[in-house]
């Protein structure tokens, strides 16, 4: 319970500082910000909290991140300076490494884990029995490291957006696009490994007469890209939308401009934070489940063409 209140306090303090900044800026410019309510809250300023920035908000003040000079590679200009979401990507990776390695050591020492290691193992076994094996058969066990890494990494990144002073890096389309690109590579690699390069390219033609190939092949190739694109957009928009709703509801406090009225938005925000917690887990699970589903399609296409119909990979459930 106290954790929830600290969280609200954190987000509210965050929004308070941003709104104070925006009101101060407005007073400095002499004109009220556009699109406001009673006290002129600028929605663009509120969005500041969910977007990428060159500064990180810490309890000890704003931390300015270093800006590196842009690198020119021919026509491209690459800006490698770290931003807020980049730093949170690193923090999430660090947290995941530390936690996962500690849990793995604990499980290696005592084969019946208790406590947090038990919870972790429960999620790993769930991934294996409900996601990897039903979708890909026992051949799927070789892809378990990738699936588990993706699941826990997305989960940690999503959850970091819910803590005070945190931001979810998955609310940045570049981060989810990177995850989707890796998923695309793994899906195609698993299909090529299962089917062989020749069969894989043959499936791209879709089994039509060779005169239709110039039409069919570009369509099939485009079709290969839509699925990871959907994965990317689904995760990105879910996370971004949730955080925008939370920030907007807290901004209502500043629209009304009174402390008494604050109880209503804060109650809504508590509810939405619980929903966001659920969505964090759900979206991580959906990303991994769809990736394993697409991989399973490639692997089953291989088994279908080799062994004929009616030959299923054996599926065991541990229960």
């Amino acid at each position: 319970m106290t954790l929830v209140f600290q969280q609200i306090e954190g987000v509210a303090a965050d929004t308070a500082r941003a709104a104070a900044d925006s009101l101060g800026a407005a007073a400095g410019h002499g004109t009220p910000p556009a699109g406001g309510g009673g006290s002129g809250v600028d929605f663009g300023e509120l969005l500041h909290h969910v977007q990428d920035a060159g500064t990180i908000d810490t309890p000890f003040g704003m931390l300015q991140l270093p800006k590196f000079p842009p690198i020119h590679v021919g026509q491209l200009v690459i800006d490698m300076s770290p931003t807020k979401h980049v730093v949170f990507v690193w923090i999430a990776a660090l947290i995941l490494c530390v936690v996962a390695i500690a849990v793995a050591r604990r499980i290696a020492r005592q084969s019946v884990p208790t406590g947090f290691a038990n919870l972790f193992e429960m999620m790993v076994v769930f991934m294996r029995d409900e996601v990897a094996i039903p979708n890909m058969g026992f051949a799927g066990l070789r892809y378990m490291p990738y699936l588990l890494t993706t699941f826990f990494y997305i989960l940690v990144m999503n959850l970091m957006g819910l803590i005070p002073y945190g931001a979810s890096a998955t609310g940045n389309v570049s981060v989810t696009a990177g995850l989707a690109i890796i998923a695309f590579v793994v899906i195609q690699a698993s299909a090529i490994r299962a089917q062989g390069l020749g069969h894989y390219l043959a499936h791209l033609t879709g089994g039509v007469h060779w005169s239709l190939w110039p039409i069919m092949i570009p369509i099939e190739i485009l079709g290969l890209f839509t699925k990871p694109f959907a994965l990317c957009m689904r995760l990105f928009a879910n996370m971004l939308g949730g955080h925008i709703v939370i920030v907007s509801l807290l901004g209502l406090i500043f629209v009304f401009g009174s402390y008494v009225i604050a109880i209503a938005p804060v109650t809504f925000v508590v509810g939405i934070n619980f929903l966001e917690l659920f969505v964090a887990f759900l979206q991580a699970y959906i990303f991994v489940m769809l990736t394993s589903l697409f991989m399973g399609l490639g692997i089953q296409a291989a088994e279908g063409s080799h062994a004929g119909a009616g030959h299923d990979a054996p599926v065991h459930h541990a229960s």
């Binding site: 957009m233 689904r234 990105f236 879910n238 925008i244």
Partner: protein
Amino acid sequence: MDPKALGYLAAGIGAALTVIGAGLGIGKLAAAAMEASGRQPEVAGQVRTSMIIAAALIEGATFFALAICIVLAFK
């Protein structure tokens, strides 16, 4: 009309239509799930799991449209 104003208008109408589509789709899904659970209570757990997965997929499509509306509202 001012193009910016048209942009805001389009973002608002787009978001509303998107939510209508999502609401209808997930509503039908939930209705089917309720009916299935009522007919065969022992599979209610599996039905609930499949329902949540399908709802997340439908919402994925919704969020594409919402992302476009957000881009429209801030360009």
